[in-house]
C-alpha cells in the first residue's frame, strides 16, 4: 500500500508541474511562488519543530553508555563512546553526525539450526546512508553555482574534484552516480528485507521516491535534454535577489525538478526528515555520563510521598527491639 501510494503521489506531482507549465502557462507559480512558499515553510517549520523539542526539558541524564566509564585513574575510559566531559560529547556527536558511528555498529542476525546464532557483518546500510548523505551534500553545494555570482571558489573546487572521471561531455559527476546508487539501494533494501518492509510506512517510501525523482530529473536535464543553463541561472538569481523573472525558453522538466525540490523542502519539517536537526538534541547521545560527579537538575522534580524511617520504626518497633536492633524511640 505504501509503495503504490507513494509512487502515485510522486507521479501526480510530476504531472501537475508538467501540465501546469505546458498547458496552463503556470511558470510563475512553479518557478517562483512554489519555491518561495516552500522555503518559508521549511524555515518556519524547522525552527518551530526544534523549538517545540527544546521546550520539553531533559529531566534526567540518560546517555547510552557504549564504552568504559571514567572511574579509577588506572582504568582506561572510553571518552568517545562514554564521554564524561563536554569535549568528549562533542567528539561523540561529531562521530555520530559526520560518520554515523552508531549505524556503523550494525550487524545482521543469522539464525541457524542448533540453534546457532550469529551476528554477521552488515555495513551496507551504513555505507549507503553515508554515501547518500555526502553525495546529497555535494550536489547541494554544487547547486550554489546557480545562486551565486561570482561563483565561490569552493563550489568550483568541488566541481573539479567531483568530475575526476572525465567521462563524456558534459563531465559525469561522481556525486550523481553515488546519489542515485545510494537512494536506489536504500529503496531496494526497504522492499526486499522482510523486517524492514514490515515496518515501512508510506512516509518511508515517499521521500525516497521523491528524492530519486529529483535526482533523475536533474540528471536528465544535465546529460540528456541539455537545458539552457544561462536562462535558468537568470531565474535562480532572480529568486535569491528577490527580483523574480521567468526567462523564455526553459523546458517543462526544469519546472518539474524545481517543484519536486519545493515539495521536499515543504515536507521536510513535518516528516521523519527532521532526524537531521533531531540528532543534535538526542539526550542519549549529547550528554556526558557524569551524573555521579555533578548533579543534573530536573526542573519539574516534585516532592513525592515516601515511607519515612519514623513510620517504619513505628510499624516494627517491638520486633526490632526484640531482635536487638537499635531504635530511635524506646
Amino acid at each position: 500500500m505504501g509503495i503504490n501510494f507513494s509512487l502515485m503521489a510522486v507521479l501526480t506531482l510530476v504531472l501537475v508541474a508538467f501540465a501546469g507549465v505546458k498547458f496552463m502557462g503556470l511558470q510563475m507559480f512553479f518557478g517562483v511562488v512554489a519555491p518561495y512558499a516552500a522555503m518559508a515553510l521549511f524555515f518556519t517549520g524547522v525552527i518551530w519543530r526544534v523549538l517545540k523539542w527544546a521546550e520539553s526539558p531533559v529531566p534526567f541524564r540518560i546517555p547510552t553508555t557504549a564504552g568504559q566509564q571514567k572511574s579509577l585513574p588506572w582504568i582506561k575510559s572510553n571518552g568517545l563512546d562514554n564521554p564524561s566531559t563536554k569535549a568528549g560529547v562533542i567528539g561523540r556527536m561529531a562521530l555520530e553526525i559526520l560518520l554515523f558511528r552508531s549505524l556503523f555498529r550494525n550487524t545482521k542476525l543469522e539464525y541457524r539450526e542448533g540453534p546457532r546464532i550469529a551476528y554477521e557483518w552488515e555495513k551496507w546500510l551504513w555505507l549507503a546512508s553515508l554515501l547518500f548523505h555526502y553525495s546529497f551534500l555535494v550536489v547541494f553545494v554544487r547547486h550554489l553555482r546557480f545562486f551565486t555570482e561570482p561563483i565561490p571558489f569552493f563550489v568550483q573546487g568541488l566541481e573539479t574534484v567531483d568530475s575526476l572521471f572525465q567521462v563524456g561531455l558534459p563531465t559525469l559527476y561522481l556525486s550523481d552516480l553515488a546519489f542515485i546508487a545510494a537512494v536506489t539501494y536504500l529503496f531496494i533494501r526497504r522492499i526486499i528485507i522482510p523486517q524492514v518492509k514490515y515496518i515501512s510506512l508510506p512516509a518511508d517510501y515517499f521521500p525516497l521516491m521523491l528524492i530519486f525523482t529529483i535526482g533523475a530529473t536533474g540528471i536528465i536535464m544535465r546529460y540528456v535534454t541539455k537545458v539552457d543553463v544561462i536562462s535558468i541561472k537568470q531565474l535562480t538569481m532572480g529568486l535569491v535577489t528577490f527580483h523574480p523573472v521567468i526567462p523564455q525558453g526553459i523546458g517543462e522538466l526544469f519546472f518539474v525538478h524545481v517543484f519536486l525540490v519545493s515539495i521536499l523542502f515543504a515536507y521536510f519539517p513535518f516528516s521523519k526528515l527532521m532526524h537531521a536537526p533531531g540528532v543534535f538534541l538526542s539526550p542519549t547521545r549529547n550528554m556526558p555520563n557524569d551524573s555521579r560527579i555533578v548533579r543534573h537538575v530536573n526542573p519539574w522534580n516534585y516532592p513525592v510521598p515516601v515511607h519515612t524511617y519514623a513510620e517504619y520504626e513505628d510499624h516494627f518497633r517491638d520486633k526490632m527491639i526484640e531482635a536487638g536492633l537499635p531504635v530511635e524511640k524506646e
Binding site: 521546550e55 552508531s102 532526524h275 555520563n289 548533579r295 526490632m320
Partner: protein, 541 residues
C-alpha cells in the same frame, strides 16, 4: 510455572519472517507464558495507585475507568511536555531497521512487534494520530492509529515484553532508546491501574518493609546471621555485622535477593568476608535494605519514592558515604537518576577508601560507590591476599548486565576483579558482551514464572553465547554482578546450556580471599570440593 516447550522444540519452531498481514491489522493474541499477572488491589492500595482492583489480562473486561482514554491521552500529553527524549523519539525515527534484530525478545520470539522500532511504533502510531497534524488528517496513511481498547491491551502485552535493556539504543543512528519509550508507556499503563503484580508486589513490599521481598527487620538480621554461621563453618572465622548502626563510616546497600536465595546468598557471604577481612567500618540497614528498585519499572515517580530511602537512611545514620552491592538496575538508578531525584547529598562526603586512601572522584556527586570499583581498588593496591587457585574448579565467563553496561559503563572493573580471583576466564563473542551485551531476558520486573516462555526466548541470545564458550573452552560458570541475573540465569542455563552454573563476582572473591586466622578450606562456599581437594573430601567422610 507456565508449561513451555522443550528447548529443541522452541528453537526449531522459531522463525523471524513477519506475517502477511500488516502489523496494524494483526490482532494481538495473549500467548501462554508471554504475559504477566495483573497487579493485585492490595498492593496498589499500599502505594495509593489509581484504579486498584483484582483483574487478569486475559479477562475481556479489564475494569478500566470509563474515561480511561482521556486519562491516557492527557498523560501522554503531559509526558511529551516533560521529556524531550519522548517527544524527540516520537518524531525522528526513520524506520531504517538497524535496531530491528538487536532485541533479544525479537531474536528469541520472532514476533515482529518485538522489534524495538515496532514496539515504539505501537505508541508512536497513537501519538501521530492524536498529536500531529498529518496524523489527524491522514490517519492511517500517515501511520496514525486510534487508541482503542485493543491497542491499549497490545501496549500492555508488548511493553511488558521489553526489559528496558537499551541494547537497541546502542545501534540507533539517533540514539532512540526504546527502553525510555517503554518506561514512559508503563507509566501510562499505570495511570489506569495496569501494572503487573510481579512489579507491584515487590514495590509495595519495598515501600513498607524496606525491601522487595518483604523481609521484616528482625528476619533480615536473622538471615544475615545465618550466613555468618555458614562462613564460620567454612573457615572458622566469626564475623560480626552490624545493623542500623549510627556513626558507622559507610552504609552498605545491596539487593535483598542476595539475602534470600542462592546463588545470590553466596555473593552475600563474599561481601561479609571481604568487609570483615579489611576491617571496614560499615553497617547494614533494615530500612534501606533494598538496592534494587522495582519502582523504576513502574514510573519515574515510584522510582523516586523507593530510592529516597537510601539518602534518608544515610543521613539518619550519619555515615560518610554509601557503598552499593552487585545489582543491575540499581546502578542505572544510582548513576542516572538518584542525585537528580533525591539529591543533593550534601550531608555526605566524597567517597574515600579507608583502606587504600583512594579518593573516588567519579562518585563525588552521588557519594555512592559500586562495590566492584571499591574491590578493584583494593586489589590494585595489594590490600587483599588472594588465592585464585581456590576458584580453579570454575571455568568462568562474564555476563555484562544491561544496566551497569549501557546505563553506566562498568566494564573493566569486574573483569579486573575476576581475573585476579580466578585463573580460568574466557570472554563470550564480542557482539554479545560489553555495550552489546544481551539481556538475561527477565529484567525490568519480568522475572516471574508465568512469563517463563518469553524469558527463555529472551534469554536465548545470551545463552547461545554462553554455549559457545561452554563448547569451546569448557566454561562452567557464568559470573555476573546483578541479583536478578543470579536468580534468573540458573533456569536459563538449565534450559539452553545445562552444565553451566551462575555466580556473583564477590562469591568468587570470597572463595579466593585468604583470611587472617582461617582454617584450611577444602570446599568453596557451596560445599563443592576445591580443585585438587576432591580426595581430601572423601577422607573426611
Amino acid at each position: 510455572m507456565a508449561k513451555i516447550p522443550k528447548a529443541s522444540e522452541m528453537a526449531a519452531t522459531l522463525s523471524h519472517i513477519p506475517p502477511q498481514t500488516g502489523w496494524m491489522d494483526t490482532p494481538t493474541e495473549f500467548k501462554q507464558g508471554r504475559w504477566c499477572y495483573g497487579a493485585k488491589a492490595k498492593n496498589m492500595e499500599v502505594l495509593g495507585l489509581p484504579n486498584p482492583r483484582d483483574w487478569s489480562p486475559t479477562d475481556a473486561d479489564w475494569k478500566l475507568p470509563s474515561n480511561w482514554k482521556e486519562i491516557i491521552l492527557e498523560g501522554l500529553r503531559e509526558r511529551i511536555g516533560r521529556f524531550r527524549s519522548l517527544r524527540l523519539f516520537m518524531d525522528i525515527c526513520v524506520r531504517c531497521g538497524a535496531c530491528a534484530d538487536k532485541c533479544h525478545f525479537f531474536i528469541g520470539s520472532g514476533d515482529p512487534k518485538n522489534m524495538p522500532v515496532l514496539r515504539a511504533e505501537l505508541l508512536r502510531s497513537v501519538y501521530r494520530k492524536e498529536f500531529t497534524t498529518a496524523g489527524k488528517i491522514l490517519g492511517k496513511l500517515a501511520g496514525g492509529r486510534e487508541l482503542t481498547e485493543e491497542v491499549f491491551k497490545e501496549w500492555f502485552y508488548y511493553f511488558f515484553q521489553c526489559t528496558e535493556c537499551r541494547r537497541c539504543s546502542v545501534f540507533c543512528p539517533y540514539g532512540i532508546d526504546t527502553a525510555e519509550i517503554t518506561i514512559i508507556a508503563r507509566e501510562l499503563l499505570n495511570l489506569v491501574g495496569c501494572n503487573i503484580d510481579w512489579i507491584a508486589g515487590p514495590v509495595a513490599n519495598c515501600y513498607q518493609n524496606g525491601n522487595h521481598l518483604g523481609i521484616q527487620p528482625h528476619a533480615f538480621k536473622d538471615m544475615i546471621e545465618f550466613f555468618v554461621d555458614e562462613i564460620e563453618a567454612l573457615n572458622g572465622i566469626r564475623i560480626e555485622p552490624t545493623f542500623n548502626r549510627k556513626g558507622a563510616e559507610i552504609l552498605f546497600i545491596t539487593p535483598s535477593g542476595d539475602v534470600f536465595a542462592d546463588p545470590g546468598t553466596y555473593t552475600l557471604m563474599g561481601y561479609l568476608m571481604l568487609f570483615h577481612e579489611i576491617g571496614l567500618d560499615y553497617t547494614w540497614s533494615t530500612y534501606a535494605s533494598e538496592g534494587g528498585n522495582f519502582g523504576f519499572f513502574t514510573s519515574h515517580e515510584m522510582m523516586k519514592r523507593l530510592n529516597a530511602k537510601m539518602y534518608a537512611e544515610a543521613k539518619r545514620l550519619g555515615v560518610k558515604w554509601i557503598l552499593g552491592g552487585e545489582c543491575g538496575h540499581m546502578w542505572r538508578v544510582v548513576n542516572q537518576y538518584m542525585d537528580t531525584m533525591n539529591g543533593p547529598a550534601d550531608f555526605l562526603e566524597e567517597p574515600v577508601s579507608p583502606i587504600t586512601g583512594t579518593k573516588f572522584d567519579s562518585a563525588k556527586g552521588t557519594k555512592m560507590l559500586h562495590l566492584v570499583e571499591f574491590t578493584a581498588d583494593l586489589i590494585r593496591n595489594g590490600k587483599l591476599k588472594l588465592d585464585p587457585s581456590r576458584n580453579d574448579h570454575l571455568n568462568v565467563t562474564f555476563h555484562d548486565s544491561c544496566n551497569p553496561a549501557r546505563g553506566m559503563g562498568l566494564f573493566e572493573e569486574p573483569r579486573y576483579v575476576i581475573q585476579n580471583v580466578c585463573n580460568n576466564f574466557h570472554e563470550m563473542p564480542p557482539n554479545t558482551i560489553r555495550e552489546q551485551t544481551f539481556c538475561c531476558g527477565s529484567g525490568s520486573g519480568l522475572n516471574t514464572d508465568e512469563f517463563l516462555d518469553m524469558r527463555m526466548r529472551g534469554g536465548l541470545p545470551r545463552a547461545n553465547a554462553v554455549k559457545h564458550v561452554h563448547d569451546m573452552f569448557g566454561v562452567n560458570t557464568l559470573s555476573t554482578i546483578c541479583a536478578i541475573d543470579r536468580a534468573v540465569l540458573p533456569p536459563l542455563m538449565d534450559y539452553w546450556v545445562p552444565g553451566v552454573g551462575v555466580a556473583g563476582v564477590h562469591e568468587m572473591v570470597g572463595n579466593a580471599l585468604v583470611m587472617e586466622g582461617e582454617t584450611e578450606r577444602t570446599t568453596d562456599m557451596r560445599g563443592e570440593p576445591l580443585a585438587g581437594m576432591e580426595d581430601s573430601e572423601d577422607e573426611d567422610i
